[in-house]
Symmetry: C2
Subunit: 306 residues, 2 copies
């Protein structure tokens, strides 16, 4: 590899870029005290808001919204009835809504049928603001980070509060991350039959929720190792970054959405959150904070073509 080639051309030169490059140099240099064996070079990445756009609506919610709009009237009425019932019982928040949507849409579908629905949606859906496919809305600077890590012997994992079933159909093509490295939320499943053949069916029962501490538990359950690098953008990623920080050598990066012109500007914390803020954690535990407006030369690959 050409040592002089900039591995992160979409990043402005600055502290965060330098820290990422220094980290890779340290952990891959056999002479360094910080050298990490190749089998322990694990990096975990949140997906929504870290690798691609999550505003104005999480892609997975946009997918369910489409499904709902396409549903027969009776299904819609039944769904609205459920929402009404549910509003009586609980304060609406996006994660409970996601859970309810999962329950509604997953029930009875086979995993193959769900995969086909996602594949079909991701090909034709357009983002309301950028008028392009969601897979064109990955962050180019983060794609460069994924490649840079991969080239240096890292295994990249996605750890998402979204479901693994939603991410796997397109992640290998978009991020070069294979299906067995997608760690995501899941619903219960059962082995049944479809058209006389064995099939795995989705049940409307949450099984795991890879959000906040659930991200750490999901990583530990599948890898039994701690990542040495982690990237996130919100309160949901704080525990994963804290967990990564318990390593002797680690790189923890928080993507801060500061650019309302090119993308969106918002806080890492949901408005109803009380307690220590994500940015306070970042400061206290010395995470690198990416200021999207000032650290990223381009955000999306299509900006190059302009």
């Amino acid at each position: 590899m050409n040592k002089n080639k900039d591995p992160l051309p979409s990043w402005h030169d600055g502290k965060v870029k330098q820290q990422i490059i220094d980290f890779i140099d340290r952990v891959t240099n056999k002479e360094s005290d910080d050298f990490v064996a190749i089998e322990d070079r694990i990096a975990t990445f949140d997906n929504d808001g870290t690798l691609w756009v999550e505003k104005p609506l999480l892609a997975q919610l946009a997918f369910y919204k489409r499904e709902l709009l396409d549903a027969p009237v009776l299904a819609k009425v039944s769904f609205i009835h459920r929402i009404a019932n549910w509003l009586k019982a609980a304060l609406l928040n996006v994660f409970d809504l996601l859970r309810m949507l999962l329950a509604y849409f997953y029930s009875g579908l086979t995993t193959d049928e769900y995969r086909e629905k996602v594949e079909s949606w991701i090909k034709r859906a357009k983002h309301p603001r950028y008028k392009t496919q969601y897979t064109n809305l990955t962050y180019q600077p983060m794609i460069e980070v994924l490649n840079y890590f991969e080239e240096h012997g890292f295994k990249n994992y996605i750890v998402s509060g979204g479901t693994a079933n939603f991410i796997r159909p397109w992640a290998e093509q978009v991020y070069n991350i294979p299906v067995n490295r997608i760690i995501g939320s899941s619903v219960k499943t059962r082995l049944g039959k479809r058209d006389g053949k064995l099939a795995v069916k989705l049940e409307p029962i949450p099984f795991s929720f890879e959000y906040r501490s659930g991200k750490v538990l999901g990583i530990e359950r599948r890898l039994a190792k701690r990542p040495i690098a982690a990237f996130g953008n919100s309160l949901g990623d704080v525990d994963m970054l804290r967990w990564t920080r318990t390593n002797k050598h680690s790189l923890c990066v928080l993507i801060h959405h500061t650019d309302h012109k090119r993308e969106y500007k918002y806080s890492p914390d949901p408005f109803y959150h009380f307690g220590k803020s994500t940015l306070s954690y970042a400061q206290e535990l010395k995470w690198q904070v990416v200021d999207m407006k000032n650290d990223w030369r381009i955000i999306f690959n299509f900006e190059r073509l302009r």
Copy 2:
């Protein structure tokens, strides 16, 4: 690779060996109608009784037995009390016993502490009959199969009713299968603290049980792909082999324990099983059945030294 070199030297020439070799030739030959792209070359292997000895006692149960013998008197009394209570309520079977043991031994331990216990046990424990470490009791013909598959672009996975936490500490060294390819049963976990530092703690609550249909669900949850090859030895593996058989091209192998002199002789089914037997499934679905006595030249690597 030398085409003339026997890839499976510990196997006697015969139908099963030939079928394995033919299968690998077919799925890796680009000219063949049965060619399978490298990313879909997934092989799954049961562990106990398929890759290593499971008699007279599952290694994981031997581990718990040792833990129990080493436990303080009060813990033993409490444990015996629990067994007694539990016997009142249910018919004893080995899987319920395993579940209870998990619940008993996992509670409060961190995943790191559990890993250390397993690492320490696997180094010093000796099998009662062979008087050697359990890791010397892997089946040499199956080690050759793992290597043969790996060399032909396959990703090998272990799918075990035993817990992933028990297998991961030694599987990479013994089978050359990395931790992220161990799919096994698990207990619930939570993020807590040990000595002021973040730690994942084991809870005495079963989370997933990778046995019978649980093996299929575990594979689907992590890979969202169907294996094209699967190896098992018992009723617990029937659903995994049936699932694999739904592929257009597949190799399903049942290891039949027929050699009481060199190893053990026993049925693939537990004595209390009713319904279709594992061997009937094998016949009906055209699985390859390994007759250990007649198909395997040696069973353990140490036989070579004799």
